[in-house]
Amino acid sequence: MFKLNLKIALRNLWRNKGITAINVGGLAIALAAFILVMLYFTYETSFDKTNPNYKNIYVVGRIYPDFKTNYTPPPLGKAIKQHFPEVEKMGITKGIFFELVLKNGNNTVFTNNFLQADYTAAEILDLKPTGGLEKPAGDVERLSYLSKESMKALFPNKTDNKPEMVTVGSSLMGIKNKINGSIINNPHSNVTFDGVSIGNELGQGENYGHNNYTTYLQLKPGTDVANLQEKITRLYHAELLKGETDRETIDKIKGISTFLDPLANQHLKPKAGNDAPYKILIALSVLGILILIIACVNFTNLSIAQATKRAKEVGVKKVMGAFRFQLALQFLTEILMQCFAATVLALILAELVLPGFNNLFLLKLSIWHADNGLIWQLPLILFLITVIAGIYPAMVLSGFKPALVLKGNFATSKQSYWLRNGLLVFQFSIAVIFIIGLFIINAQLKYMRSQDLGFKAEQVVYIKNIALFSDPDKFEPVREKILKIPGIKSATVATGIPNGTANGTNTYTSNGVQASINYLDVDFDYFETLDIKLKEGRFFSKAFKTDTANSAVINESAAAKYGLSNPIGQTIIGCNTNYKIVGVIKDFKDRGFENATQPTIYAIKDPCGNPKMEIMLKIEENKMADALAALKAQWPEINKLDGENFRYAFLDELYGKLFKKQEQLQSVFFAAAVLTVFIALLGLYAFAKYITNGRLKEIAVRKILGATDVQLLKLINSSFFILVVIANIISWPVAYIVTNMWLKTFAYRIDFPVLPFVTTTLITLLLTIVTVSIQAKKAVNANPVDALKYE
């Protein structure tokens, strides 16, 4: 019997090749999207899961009245370990976030993230140097390990696991350091690094003010975390309050509490941070599930639209004594086969799309990876979609009354019309939201790319540098040498570059107003190099001796903040210096479009500032290549500290990275819009087929009575037209609220556009008419007698 049923199924699918392809293909595409979402979900929720103590590891953090932080002082961890027996292990780490240049002969690697960890932290975090974790000897020894990739780059022919010596910094400086071996950097962990340096103890002699370590606790299983958290807060207060008498300080200390945050939450929803990634992940998962369910329902609809063709078969089989459950099982098996085909197809599709997906989100996901959970998830999904997509058609088909269907007249119930209409409206609503969203994202990105930034990042080259140039006299010889190279128009050094990073803030007083504003320390030619516009006064100039002592330039926002209507010549006091304002510049978008330009003061001399290290050059475009080559050649002479390690970046590219997130969003919306439109059209196609099949007789009669093709197409289209209009109207407020919320995250944004709403409506209506007409055309063109003969 199975063989015959299989034959019927295959011959049927083959006879309706087009429908089968649409049905299986549609499901496959939705399933592929779902598989990607599932892979992403598994990846995002399994950071550090390979750590054997994953569930018992906590990060200690502190809560101030206005912010939370994971930075803790070294003595706190020690005190915790001493006082609370439920803490099995305690370890601390500290990052080094400046660039180290490591060399072995001509092989060079740059490390940006060298982690310092004490031995227990390395144990807790399951750090695995090749050859196993070793305990450093004594208090001073540090065991340094480089990531496998860096080790390979430095010592390409190394096969043993013996320590090696490397040069740190430029070879002229000649500092040597020992590297004990290589270590695996697991990108699928909250703790990532280019290298690790392990000591027995970190932060010796540092006190409770040195809040720049991360403290990890490994608790004994079954520990009452909430209780421990309270105890730690009490301990922290007790330690800080030792010898403290000042009332105000005591109150301040009591306002700080501590928390324990599971390692498992660090990646998606750390307490000291935001849970936006978690929310985005959940939203994405919901979207994935929704798309899959909708695709399943479409599958169901299309199957039922095809039901008339199987009615006779059901009737005949029932007459011959088939039980209903046998028939239901037969149809379920058929649908299982189709779903299986769709799953295989979906895997292929996902595999094809995955490189692009990885590229977009900077991930390395793979389908053929045993630990991604697909092995048990896929069969489960296959089973679920078979049930969701198959139960209803199986019930309907197996429920046909043989006495009716064998006479050739049967109609499916009209009860499900509301459900179907609702589903169609729902599908289109989602599609419309994504299309509108896509249009608005496009508009904002276009605006961001075309808008005047207030400065020119083009042809500005940023040079990485480890020498400190806070004193203008120290930079002057460097500048002179640089400017001798043809094509270089100007050179400057500052504490920061306009690539979106926040500047420091400090308190300044002027015009009787005290306010916290941003500060940036610059050198001569800073404004000229970046082509920033002057509003009044002047830029810094070597002609004025006072400029290297106490001159300041402020921006428009700062002038407004202090209410300075005539700022030139006024005094602004900060950092024990009485600055004289010599110029006001127009605000420029140094922090991209999301953050508004802050009130900022620019000075050459700043006792409170950080060292100036960021060199920027303006180079003529047509001499760019030559100038860069010359710079590289001359760099050991210009800047001994970096020597042959001449590294540069184009400022416009660095600034462009601020757009990366929006470009990701744009890609996601593009994919979602295409997918949801596709699925909505699929649903529409099935529905239109179903409706026209049900109206074949009506169409035939109308045609005999003289209706033209156009009139008939209009007739069939009109109900769908209304549904899609309703879907659009429903989506408008949702799309408005969501896109408006998104636009509000930008300090500089487009006026809310109306056009996307109109365009989207027109697009969806056009697609609807085309889809429905393709389906209706067949019915309209058919010979009316054929439809009536079934009587």
Binding site: K7, K318, V319, F323, L406
Partner: protein, 232 residues
């Protein structure tokens, strides 16, 4: 063999109630060939559907040999049907996706007949129906008469006690119609009981007894003497 008493069947829609069977009494003897005739809407198809257990009446009794069939549940009805009854329809109702051979084989599969025996039985009946060279064809490739012969073959392959035929010649021209009627007669002569619904008095003349229905009642019964004499 069949004893029907006070059978009532009412079709209800939202507004109208139509009484299709209004207290019908009927008997059929084993080996009989009974025709049911009557105008459109008289209830003859409903009666046939009830007899074939495809439809349930509101009340009454339907005894087959000595078994009361109206109290059976769906499963039992299916079982009873597949063991005892064969059907022939006006519009043939062959499954388009299956070949002639497979169509005929289908009821045997539902009766759990082993494959080798199935093959034997199907081949036998194909030979008897004179459609040997058609066994690999699909229904659409056959003429109407041939399709109905396949349908009859399918109804007979399980050797049912009762064959129910619903206007078996309705979609055929007269020569093909006669072929099918002769086939049914032959079948009847080998002992199979047949109940046939028809519009055609020509077709009815092939049967032993003609029952006339109107508005859900039996209004007359006529024994076909010529045919019965033939039998003797």
């Amino acid at each position: 063999m069949i004893k029907i008493e006070k059978l009532e069947k009412v079709y209800k829609t939202e507004e109208v109630e139509t009484t299709a069977l209004n207290g019908i009494d009927l008997y059929v003897k084993e080996g009989e060939f009974v025709s049911i005739m009557g105008p459109s809407g008289c209830g003859k198809s409903t009666l046939l559907n009830v007899m074939g257990l495809l439809d349930k009446p509101e009340s009454g009794s339907y005894k087959f040999i000595d078994t009361e069939l109206l109290t059976l549940n769906d499963r039992e009805r299916s079982n009873f049907r597949k063991r005892n009854m064969g059907f022939v329809f006006q519009n043939f109702n062959l499954i388009d996706e299956l070949t002639v051979f497979e169509n005929i084989e289908l009821p045997l599969i539902y009766n759990k007949v082993p494959a080798t025996e199935r093959k034997k039985l199907v081949n036998e009946i194909i030979e008897r129906m004179n459609i040997v060279n058609r066994s690999g064809h699909f229904p659409q490739q056959l003429s109407g008469g041939q399709q109905q012969r396949v349908a009859v073959a399918r109804a007979l392959v399980t050797k049912p006690k009762l064959v129910l035929a619903d206007e078996p010649t309705g979609n055929l021209d007269s020569s093909h119609g006669n072929e099918v009627m002769e086939l049914l007669c032959e079948l009847n002569e080998t002992g199979t009981t047949i109940v046939m619904v028809t519009h055609s008095s020509h077709d009815a003349s092939f049967s032993n007894r003609i029952i006339n229905l109107k508005d859900g009642h039996v209004i007359s019964e006529k024994v076909n003497k010529s045919r019965n004499e033939e039998l003797i």
